[in-house]
Symmetry: C2
Subunit: 459 residues, 2 copies
């Protein structure tokens, strides 16, 4: 028997729990699920003798040590900041660990100790990071295996709303932490293009979008992530001339979101005055310059200030959010970003009948036998419902499958690792297909120089 | 005899030293000047038995304690970060202290102890902060004394180049720390207008300028400082509907500087890749999107990206800086802001024959006997030469005069204070007139509502 301790039983854990429960009898697993509240799991787990839920407080050292001590493998879907404490406990008690979060410098420091103790700390094993690494490496290693040389790699991921539930002018609902959506992109985006480093400051980010097309799902806007460079090394693309990682939204979202950035509404660094009496309208008012004539409305002033069309879709999106209405914010103290989040959460809620959607697209260019190839690898995953969301499936299932492989002894790599190795990504990508998580590839030989290539819309 | 210890003998100390030496015999002062290097002072001080210069290291605790111990008054023009250590030593040994720097929260904590020990720590006693407080309070207390109610107060200061030395298209040279000029305005500007709090994010700051006019010197652009609100309390303007503090530049400077902000060149938060091989041109290239046609030049791309006219003054200013030339940067590792500073320092240097200029303007509106008044109080100070700059005079002379008043026992206020009190500002402003530091006031009764008031150009 193998004991699994799963920490974190929130929304994004639903598909992971489902998988672990399904495979537990055949694999001879005993599953313990710990979180601050686990009431929602009691009914589901009560009839099962191979699974139980416990109230778990990650800050309680005694409990942390005791529960980790009983496990063979720890899986953590807790908020990323709590992982390092869990990892140190795992190292101390010599247990494997899997998370879906980024390898931070703190984690990198644990690598040697984990290796020496014959332990695997497997990180970045969810969707993004996770499936993005695995699916990219599958293409990269195949192309390199044929003798091809990759000259350009752009990769975009977005958590969106499924077309059938898409009924607002932003074509967006929250399937993920709203705060992270509001703060997304802050800092400077850094990438490389044709061998030159490029930098996009935050206030230009939502203007410098790339247009993407996914067969059957239409066009998307892509904007660059903060760090597109750090995966050149692990992907084995040391000298690649062009590399960019980004985030996907529906066409038009970025142009409207740019209004928030330009106004300063996404700033989380200071507290607004008088939030208690603030309405949506007075919130916007605080960021828009005064009128040049007494008859000029707030909307007109905003349009003039930011060169937004008074008849266009951007203003329609803002109007739909009720930004110009005297709706009380309902917070006592808040940063601009917190006020914006409050307004958006009221409008972009994923309803019980709604389905979400994950879209990922990799765009490769490579040279092979003197020819220039373009290869696109695209993934679309739809949620089943508001519990088994596309987000929960794509984050939880790769973690679950990797957990199974690790407990089966099929992962022998030790230390702090990410799933960029063939023996990790190949079986995971294969098994994910059964869950509808399956990439579609399109490839063509690029016309020779002089003919019109693929339109490069990166403004 | 009174002993003065002056710490900091850099450029901005020249007028202060001159004043102290002039008054030392009559006032029976013994002056000791300490700095890391004081070689430039030896010749001047050698014949004087009432003054000497010493090599002084603020980090050397023993020396710090010994020198402070011998003084009756310490004046510090060291960089602001070193003041707190000097202040703690002064408190310990019960000595008065004067600086030209801002009262930080750390200083505020020293207030009670200073009061109890009957000591004065007099801060914000230079130009800005300093003369701005004094000259504003002179008007505020006069208007309030007449029974007037101040409804609007805007105040702008700029360190510029004198018209006779103004020979570049930016109409600007460095008379102050270049790094501070490059980083100026970062964060969010917060002010109040007609009773409403207003916020300008950094990336809009140089677009939302106010136009000012100073008799005999023409028009200026004013942009808002980060914090316009914290002086409502000390100025006694608790409920003022409109208050803004800002910085002055010549017309056109802000529009061109905005290009740097929009590109991201003033960012000091990350290090660029490959700075060692960078030229002015490749620096700009890293922030400008790719060409849409093979014939498009870097200048054309920049103009298209930021909606800058290809024939206009903004591009001329950029061209004049040599930004599109293959001039090596000459740094090995740097942030964008550090690269920009390096380029600007080479171009905006105050030459030995150049004179600088300080411009300050306060704009008040007040109600008195049912009438609306507008009152403008303006100051222009020209440098004598590259040593006795307008900056050195306006920073150093008020500090010097306040030092004299304190040693004469004419300042009885104790604790951590700033020169907003009548018994401080009145004699200082009066004595400054003899040095050509004299405000000119213009006042008019505003036309009744309905008639055209003063144009408000804050976009």
């Amino acid at each position: 028997m193998k004991r699994i301790l799963l920490l974190g039983a929130g929304r994004s854990a639903s598909a992971l729990i489902h998988y672990l429960l399904q495979h537990a009898p055949a694999e001879d697993w005993q599953l313990t699920i710990g979180d601050i509240t686990v009431d929602h799991l009691q009914e589901q787990l009560a009839p099962l003798d191979f699974a139980n839920a416990i109230q778990f407080d990650v800050h309680n050292e005694t409990q942390r040590a005791a529960e980790v001590g009983q496990a063979d493998l720890v899986i953590s879907l807790l908020p990323a900041i709590f992982h390092i404490e869990v990892a140190r406990e795992c190292l101390k008690q010599e247990k494997h660990l899997i998370t879906a979060s980024y390898v931070t410098p703190e984690f990198r420091e644990l690598h040697e100790e984990a290796k020496q103790k014959n332990l695997t700390i497997l990180m970045e094993s969810g969707l993004d990071p996770g499936i993005d690494h695995m699916s990219a490496m599958a293409v990269i290693q195949r192309v390199q295996g044929m003798g091809g040389k990759i000259t350009s790699f752009k990769s975009y991921t977005g958590g969106l709303v499924a077309p059938e539930s898409d009924n607002n002018p932003w074509n967006y609902k929250f399937s993920w932490n709203p705060r992270n959506v509001v703060l997304a992109g802050q800092g400077t985006a850094k990438y490389i293009q044709n061998g030159e480093y490029k930098y996009i400051p935050y206030h230009q980010l939502f203007r410098r979008t790339d247009m993407l097309y996914v067969e059957g799902y239409g066009h998307f806007d892509g904007y660059a992530n903060r760090d597109s460079l750090s995966y050149r090394e692990p992907y084995g693309l040391h000298d690649i001339p062009t590399m960019l990682r980004g985030t996907l939204r529906r066409i038009g979202y970025c142009a409207a979101w740019d209004v928030f950035v330009q106004l300063g509404l996404t700033d989380d660094s200071y507290t607004l005055e008088g939030v208690g009496n603030m309405t949506n309208r007075s919130f916007i008012e605080a960021f828009v310059p005064p009128a040049v004539s007494p008859s000029e409305t707030l909307q007109q002033r905003l349009c003039r200030y930011l060169s937004v069309s008074a008849e266009g879709e951007v203003l329609q999106k803002l109007e739909w959010l009720g930004l110009f209405e005297e709706t009380p914010i309902g917070l006592q103290a808040a940063t601009p970003a917190q006020v914006l989040e409050k307004i958006l959460v009221g409008k972009w809620k994923l309803e019980p009948s709604d389905k979400d959607m994950i879209v990922m697209q990799h765009l490769f260019e490579y040279e092979l036998n003197g020819e220039q190839h373009e290869l696109t690898s695209s993934l679309v995953v739809l949620g089943d419902d508001v519990v088994q969301t596309a987000m929960a499936k794509t984050v939880g299932l790769p973690v679950a499958i990797l957990a199974k492989l690790l407990l089966q002894g099929k992962i022998e790599r030790r230390g702090v690792i990410i799933p960029i190795h063939l023996e990790l990504y190949e079986p995971v990508l294969e098994e994910l297909k059964a869950y509808g998580i399956d990439f579609v590839e399109q490839e063509r030989v690029k016309p020779a120089v002089g003919e019109a290539g693929m339109a490069q819309r990166f403004r």
